[in-house]
Symmetry: C2
Subunit: 307 residues, 2 copies
């Protein structure tokens, strides 16, 4: 099976306590696609400028990622610069140059139309909804968003949330979206807005999945996957997108989507997020093997496993 | 087997989004003793004033907690007042009246001297060290501390840490003690200061135990116990002490202390902490049954258990 991801491809400048890099390949769709490519065939819908060349193209091709949906526009690719200081959980944004991304209108190639899984990375909610409507044969849709849209376009976001199956956001975004400071109560409110499942990413503490009553099976308990304590966090950029890539990529490779499968997907999300932060940019995600992924899956499992 | 806890017994005034209470029984030793009493026989060393009466005494007696080490001094018992607003992880202290606790000199009753387990709750580090030296037949010593001692009495604390087996502190305290912002690296530095194991409490995200190389068995991986997402957090006061009570109480009931036992203890710590916050003060800890504890242990286990 395969998955379509719609989102940003970018060039990033990143400074962290471990060093500094410039003009490296980044963007939510890039991190997602690379992480998901270890599990399933990935198709990207994005826009890049004329500074996106064979070197960047090669990264996708080497992971058999379909780039026919990456539109080439005149101008520069989206560029972002950020600095992480001691608190690696939060970047200080130095600049955001939207460039060709500013007028991004996602176009789904005909060849993508039969794709069974869809991930709407963090873009304007109405664009997300448009893509979802165009791909109405899809089996399961995952979605990300951020504070900017939660505050700025709540009505548009509410419409999008009615069209998605799994929403993947962090603690702060969940509380803001629900107007509720208690996390489990906030989760229930978000589920009432549309998604069948809500994945809350806790950064270094892992992630929790909450299910809507009756969705994906029976039961009312949430499930939590821990994250591995990482000694060398070089660059947290893209950790959340890599998490989503591992989670959705694993799902897209399964015959049936039930709660047990979603739990395993949560672990794979944590695994891919933990790899992403070990090197700057997408370097670590580019050079993984399936054996390394399975080995870390076992470490994560043992991290909370009682005899 | 049995355990001695040395620490504060107090009266608390607590305000949280769920309400307000005054003059309720609190203090680290109280929360610890009640939580541990479901697993083992508990003996308390503390000081109270003449406002500590039969009503408070009864709470301990009903849990077969030995209070012969609770000294009655002239004056008032330690009093603390705090307010929790939307962020339930942090209390705003309204007042701290140390009263008789100011000149607390822990005295170990002769009847306590053969006790095999010891917990040094959060008191001045030199007092902790004195108690530990007096009880030199002890099999395992647990210890808590706080920012106030980490900053104010680092030399005294360093001496205490050489005498304890398991240190239980939170993320912020660990980073402060190690002068290191990366948690796993901070954990290694703290272990180099003396303890054989370090339990880092993450509040609503559970806790992680790090082992010193070769201590309690082989292996180099940490272990994490998740916490249950709680919909009704009424009063977070004493959650950490209740965690310590569940953790140490479970250990004190075991024949052998190895890594597998310490992992289970970490789960029981989380279980007791999660009960503590469901009602104001020690109310929930007073009325538990062992069946309720085992049921929640199973829920915690399933929270991260893959088929």
């Amino acid at each position: 099976m395969s998955i379509v991801v719609v989102g940003s491809v970018a060039f990033d400048d990143v400074t962290s306590p471990s060093g500094s890099v410039k003009n490296i390949l980044g963007g939510a769709a890039t991190y997602f696609a690379l992480a998901a490519s270890y599990f399933t065939q990935v198709r990207v819908v994005a826009v890049v400028g004329d500074d996106f060349g064979p070197e960047q193209e090669r990264v996708f091709r080497e992971h058999r990622i379909d780039t026919r949906g990456i539109e080439r526009a005149q101008g520069k690719t989206f560029r972002w610069g950020g600095t992480y200081s001691d608190n690696l959980n939060e970047a200080k944004t130095n600049f955001t140059d939207l460039n060709v991304f500013q007028t991004f209108q996602p176009r789904i190639p005909t060849e993508y139309e039969d794709t069974e899984f869809l991930f709407l990375a963090n873009i304007q909610p109405t664009l997300q909804a448009d893509v979802r409507r165009k791909m109405n044969g899809v089996r399961l849709t995952g979605c990300d968003t951020m504070n900017y849209w939660i505050k700025g376009t709540p009505t548009e976001l509410a419409a999008t949330l009615k069209l998605v199956d799994v929403l993947l956001i962090n603690d702060t975004e969940t509380k803001m979206l629900a107007h509720e400071s208690n996390l489990p109560r906030a989760a229930q409110k978000v589920l009432a807005m549309g998604p069948k499942a809500l994945v809350i990413k806790h950064g270094e503490y892992g992630a929790t999945i909450f299910f809507r009553e009756g969705a994906f099976g029976i039961g009312h308990h949430p499930f939590r996957a821990p994250a591995l304590p990482i000694e060398e966090v070089k660059d947290p950029t893209g950790a959340g997108d890599s998490f989503a890539g591992g989670f959705m990529g694993y799902l897209a490779a399964q015959q049936e989507i039930n709660r047990e499968v979603l739990k395993r997907a949560l672990f794979y999300g944590g695994v891919m997020g933990s790899f992403a932060v070990e090197r700057f940019g997408t370097e670590r995600l580019q050079g993984l093997t399936r054996d390394e992924i399975e080995a870390r899956f076992q470490v994560f499992r043992e991290l909370t496993h009682l005899e």
